[in-house]
Each structure stands twice: as C-alpha cells, then as structure tokens.
C-alpha cells in the first residue's frame, strides 16, 4: 500500500510552502483584509510564474500537466498561508468545469490564460440563500442570452470570466439546467462587490441583462457537470481546509508554549492541552479523509462522490474547530484585530459555506453511501 504522496509531490509541497512563506506573509494577507486591494496581484503573478495555477492543466493548454495530486499539495499550502487570491474560484471551479465540459476552442481560449495568470475565472451558481440545487436556479438562458442575478459569486468582482448555471427548461428536473461561459468584460454584465465574512476572498453580485453567452457542455447537461465540478472542488478545498487547520493548531500550540499565566506555561494546563489534542484529532481525521479524496480525484474513481463528500465534511469541521479553539487558546489576545487568529476563523467559516453548507454535504454523503450500499 502506498497511501501517501510521492517524494516529488512532497517536494512540491515544500517548494510551495517556501514560496508562500516569503510571498504571502500574514502582513500581505492583511493588506487585502484591510481593503488595500481586492486580491494580492503580486502573489497571483508569482503563483503563475511558479507554475502553480496551471499545475493540473494539460501541457497542450499551457499548463504544467502534472496532475491533481500535485494540485492537492499546493492547495494545502494555499490554505495554510490563508492566501488572499482567487485561486479556488479560478483553479478548482472554472478550470475544472472547462476541463470536464469545455470544447477544444474554449479550453484553448481560457486554460492557457488561467495558467499564465492573465485570466481569473469563477463559478456563478448561487442565487441568494440556499444550497446547490437545480430548483434554486432562476437565471434564464434563451438563444444564448442570459438574464438574471447571481449572488454570492466568489471573486466575482475580480473575475474575467464566469461559468454560469442557467435554466433552459421548465420540467423541474436536473435536465433543465445548462452551463454557459461568459466573458465578464464584455457587455450585459453588472458587477457589485458585497461585504462578506472573509474580505481576503471577495464576494460579488453579478447581474446579467441580455448578456450573450456561449454554451459550456451540452444543453441540459449542466447539473451533471456541476455535480462533478463541485465534487472535485470539494476535495481541493478540503486540502486548503486541512492546511488551515494545521496552521491554526500550530498557532494555538505555539501560543500555549509561549504564554505564561499563574506562573506557568498555559500549555501545561490540561484544560488547554486537551483542547489542543482534540484539535489535532480533528485535523488528523480531516487529513486522512482528504487523502482518500485525493486518491479518488486523481484516479477518477467511482468512489469520488462519496470520498469528496467525506473529505468536505471532515475538513470543514476540522478547520472550523481548529480556528475557533485557536482563538480560545489565545484568550483575549485572540479576539484582537492585531492577532492573526481571526483571519483563520473568517476563512474557516466562509469556506464552510462556499460549495454548499455542511448540512448539504452531510445530506449528499448519506445519499451516496446509501447508493453504494444498495449496489
């Protein structure tokens, strides 16, 4: 059994960590947090130069043609560094949708631009509150023209293009939904930034008014493609969450060693130790579930739907748990703007919602386990 990343993949992880330690310090994250820029453009450029944006994009389309295991180790480091860039929207959602359903021309147009850092992409799925479901999609597409409003759209204000889920039928079935690709810099689009929990990753409202759009994938296949995209993104996001969990745990551990109260290191109190031990347990379970997701993702295994849901749930719980208790270990200092704890707390709770909430994925997991048991 070789249920681990290869030495080369681990080396890539080290390389990514080194790069992000230099280029994505907490200070750099704060610049975006404080609203000085919508995202870290320098970092984005650097990620392109390192080949990280196109690591899983085939060489024919301007990428490094490595694979999804390589993308997983980079995702972990992006999460650990709390990177303030539209990485997940562009790489996990837009690029994956193109890889699954894009025509050759569409891939040629967008994928090299993603890999080189020239194009930021996103997925415009949600329309107000609710979880991913064909029923919630009201934006219409008729003869390649879109009308409707999407929100929240992650990184929508900085994106160059969006994959948009639209209603093309009225049978109330999955087949009513089709996907489109929209150049957001062309006409018919109005973008408004929205305030959100985690300002290091923007959210927007996008209004489409008689907006011309190109089909992505066959008509009526939209929901099936989306399901695959969300599963793949769930695994990749899980790695970001695993990286974030580990970092939050480390911060808590380091503070517990450093801080003296009642004449001793607070890490010598069992109440604090046990809190940190429980964080380690959550982070370990999440990592192991995510490894299984990575295996399923990289091999396109039939187990992917179940593995993705398990990774998503486990990693969401772990990141929320570690980020929350990291603040608790820090006590009052953890609740200051000055300490970095809240950046992970914000990220953890924003990420918990981005691809559909925890309860949505719990529902998905049970459905998928039942399907497997029935088979």
């Amino acid at each position: 059994m070789n249920f681990d990343f290869s030495d080369d993949q681990k080396q890539l992880r080290d390389q990514a960590r080194k790069f992000l330690t230099e280029k994505c310090s907490p200070k750099a994250v704060r610049a975006v947090l404080d609203g000085k820029a919508p995202y870290d453009k320098e970092l984005w450029k650097g990620l392109a130069e390192m080949g990280f944006l196109g690591v899983a994009i085939p060489e024919d389309f301007g990428g490094a043609g490595a694979g999804h295991l390589e993308l997983c180790v980079i995702a972990e480091e992006m999460g650990r560094a709390n990177a303030p860039v539209p990485f997940s929207s562009t790489v996990y959602l837009a690029a994956e949708a193109l890889l699954i359903a894009g025509s050759d021309a569409q891939k040629k147009k967008w994928l090299p631009a993603i890999a080189s850092g020239e194009a930021i992409g996103t997925l415009a799925l949600f329309e107000g509150s609710g979880n991913p479901s064909p029923k919630t999609i009201k934006l219409t597409a008729a003869n390649g023209v879109l009308n409707g409003v999407k929100k929240p759209v992650a990184d929508g204000a900085v994106a160059d293009f969006a994959v948009v889920a639209a209603r093309t039928g009225s049978s109330r079935r999955d087949g009513d939904i089709s996907l489109f690709i929209v150049d957001l810099k062309a006409g018919g689009v109005e973008v408004k930034s929205l305030t959100n929990l985690d300002p290091t990753r923007g959210q927007a409202e996008i209004t489409f008014r008689d907006c011309k759009a190109e089909s992505l994938g066959a008509a009526g296949e939209g929901w099936s493609i989306l399901t695959q995209v969300l599963d793949r993104a769930a695994v990749l996001c899980a790695f970001e969450q695993v990286g974030g969990s580990d970092r939050a745990l480390e911060m808590g551990r380091d503070y517990a060693l450093d801080r003296i109260a009642f004449g001793r290191q607070i890490g010598s109190f069992q109440a604090v130790k046990h809190m940190l031990a429980d964080m380690y347990v959550s982070a370990t379970l999440a990592r192991s579930n995510s490894y299984y997701g990575a295996w399923a993702l990289s091999t396109n295994a039939g187990e992917l739907p179940e593995a993705a849901a398990a990774a998503r749930i486990s990693a969401t719980q772990a990141f929320q748990h570690c980020a929350k208790n990291n603040i608790q270990v820090h006590g009052g200092m953890g609740f200051t703007w000055e300490f970095d704890c809240h950046m992970y707390y914000r990220r953890a709770n924003a990420m918990a919602l981005g691809l559909g909430s925890l309860s949505y994925w719990e529902d998905q997991l049970i459905d998928r386990m039942r399907k497997k048991n029935a088979a």
Binding site: M1, N2, F3, D4, F5, S6, L69, L249, R253, A256, L257, R264, Q265, G267, S268, Q270, V272, K273, H274, L276, A277, D278, Y280, V281, T284, L285, A286, R287, S288, N289, Y291, Y292, A294, W295, S298, A309, A310, I313, S314, Q317, S359, W361, E362, D363, L365, I366, M369, R370, N373
Partner: protein, 414 residues
Amino acid sequence: MNFDDTPQEAAFRETARKWVEAHAPKELEAELSKSSLGRIRLAHQDIVDVGKAWQKKKAEGGWACLHWPKEYGGRGATPIERVIWQQEEGVYGKLTQPFQIGEGMCGPTVMAFGNEDAKRRYLPKLAAGEEIWCQLFSEPSAGSDVAGLRTRAEKKGDNWVVNGQKIWTSGAHYSDYGLLIARTDPNVPKHKGLTMFFLDMKSPGVEVRPIKQANGMQEFNEVYFTDVVIPDSQRLGAVGEGWSVSLTTLMNERMSIGARLATGVPEMFEFCSNLMLEDGLAIDDPAVRSKLASWAVKSSGLKYTSYRAISALSKGDRPGPENSIGKLVSGMMLQDIATYAMDLQGAAGVLTGSDEEAAQGQFQQMLLSSPSMRIAGGTDEILRNIIAERVLGLPGDIRVDKDVPYNKIPTKGR
C-alpha cells in the same frame, strides 16, 4: 498514491491467503463476522479452546507471532507482512483475543529483558498459544497513575515475596503466566522503586476473583497476592528499573496498527436504514442524516489514518503519531451512537431484551459497555495528555509527587 501491494507484498499475501483458506475453522466464520462489538462470544464453544486450537495451527504453519524471530516461535516477518497477515486472517483474528496481551505486551517485554534461557523456554509456547499470559499492572489505587501502585515485593534470599492486589486483569483466570510490576523500594520516589517480574499464575498465594462489571458481565479479574514467592531469576530488568521496563511493554501497544477498532458506524447505518419513524425511515430524517454523516467521516478518517500508517510500514518507515487517535475517537463515538440509537427507539429504547425491537438490544449492550472503551488501555484524558505532550510537544503536567519518597506521598486510606 495507490492501495496496491508491492510485488513482494502481493506474493506474501497470496501465501497467507492460501494458508488461511486451507486451515481456518470455516464453520465459525458466520458467527465471528457477526460479533463486531465488544468481546467475542461463541454460542457452543469456549473462545479459549477454539482460540488455542487456531493458534496452534498457526504456529505449526509459521503464522503465529510472525513478526518475532524464528528461534522464539515467530517467522521473522517484517511489520508490513504482519499487517498483511492480519488482513488475511480476517475474522479468524478474533479468535486470538485470549493471546493478545501476551503477544502484544508480555512477550515483547520478555524478549527485551529476559535472559536467553527464559526467551527460549517461554516465548515459543506463548506464540503457539500453549501458555497464556496476562498483565498485572493496574491496581485499585493505581489506574492512570499506575506508578503509584502498592503491591510490594520484598527480597528474601534468592526470592521475592509478593503481597498486594491487582485489578482489571483480563484473562487472569485462564492465564498460565503473568507479567507483574511491584514496589520493591517504598523509600524512593514512586517511579524509582518499581521492579518487573513474571510469575507462574498457579503459584501458591495467587488468588483470582472475577469482577462483576457495571454492564453486568464478568470479563476481568482481581488478583490477590499473599506471600507469593517469585525466584529472582524471574525478574525482568534491574531492581528499581520497573518503570522503564513497563514503558517498553506499553510502547508495544503501538503494534495495534492495522487492527480495526469497532466504531458502531456500520451497525448504526443499517439500523437507521431500516428503522421506521412516524414520518418515514430514520435515514430520511435530516437530523439523523447529519449525525450519521459526522460519525461516518470519523470512522472513515480512522480507516484512512491506519492506511497511512500501513503505507509507512510498507516503505520501511516508522509510522507517525497519527494512530494514537484511534481509541480516543472510537470510544466516544460508540457511546454517542448507542445513546442516539436508543433515542430513536423512544420509550422502547429502555428495553434490553434481544427480541424487543429491530436492533436486538445491541445498542443497549453497547451503551452499557462503552464506558469501558473510554477507560481501558488509557483513559480519554490520559490519551489527550499523550497527544498533547508527545505529538504537540506541550509541557508535562506539574507533578507534585515526583520527587517525594513513595511512602511520604499523601494518600487516602493506605
């Protein structure tokens, strides 16, 4: 990343599989498959008798304690080969329950500290299941704080004379030998006055009494020692070094890698898939689904954590500390699952009879047994301390009795 064997591992697996196929007591397969929670009970046979027969066959075929050197009854197998064997032994591995303490803890201690004569005399018989060993560490006043134990061993000529009491000794009533830690010097701090021995459980002055547990069962014993004589040749390690010898014993618990801990998740999933509530199947209820999903990802997380450890062994590396989370997670989960399953049964959940309702009393049994899972082999709290100190590097607790001579430590009723 893959789940495949290396060619050598595949060849080893094939050999093991064929041997199990040819020799396993297949008539017990169904019964063994069913009993996934708690201790094994067979309807018509004594687990010790059946276990001894299986262990003897394994020893003859070279599959007993296979990671031990050949001269001591093993096969000289690598750690990953041992994991593969466990996988192939499958449900029949449950028959080795009476030997696990001996194989996992007593044997390795004899191997590390016994003289050559002792190793050749005792280890092959232990491996073959001919002689069963138990471990005599815990005492009524020394559980988590086992170094605070009171059982005394006093030197008389070439012998030691033991007086005291042990508790929670699994299998003492059918064991031939016991690994005993006792206090040989009460005038020094508690960790420094301990010495390790092994003894014949049939020695005069040894009395084994079963404990009636909170769940109504009797699986453990108290062992009383009254002027029990142990020859000095049965001492393991130097006088006063018992604590560090015991750490060797306990460290061997990490060999449990690959052994699957019961979590209750498959049973709960099946239960919820069949249980009719007022508005339909339990598994269609959002609250039930949410809980089930949370438990399912803990269970899969444990499974893949052990896969990571197995992968390390396969590469010849030492597994990381991740495996230390297993019992902590599964123990709490069993208790939570049992409580929730009964909640779903409503008023009838109070009934424990096996024909009362769909789940045949299994969750009621789980509820009553699960407290022990959170205590035996290290309480949840001790396990958290271990993770915090050994994995995360946090400071040890401040120990007020650390430098105090044992006989000056305040106690209640000594």
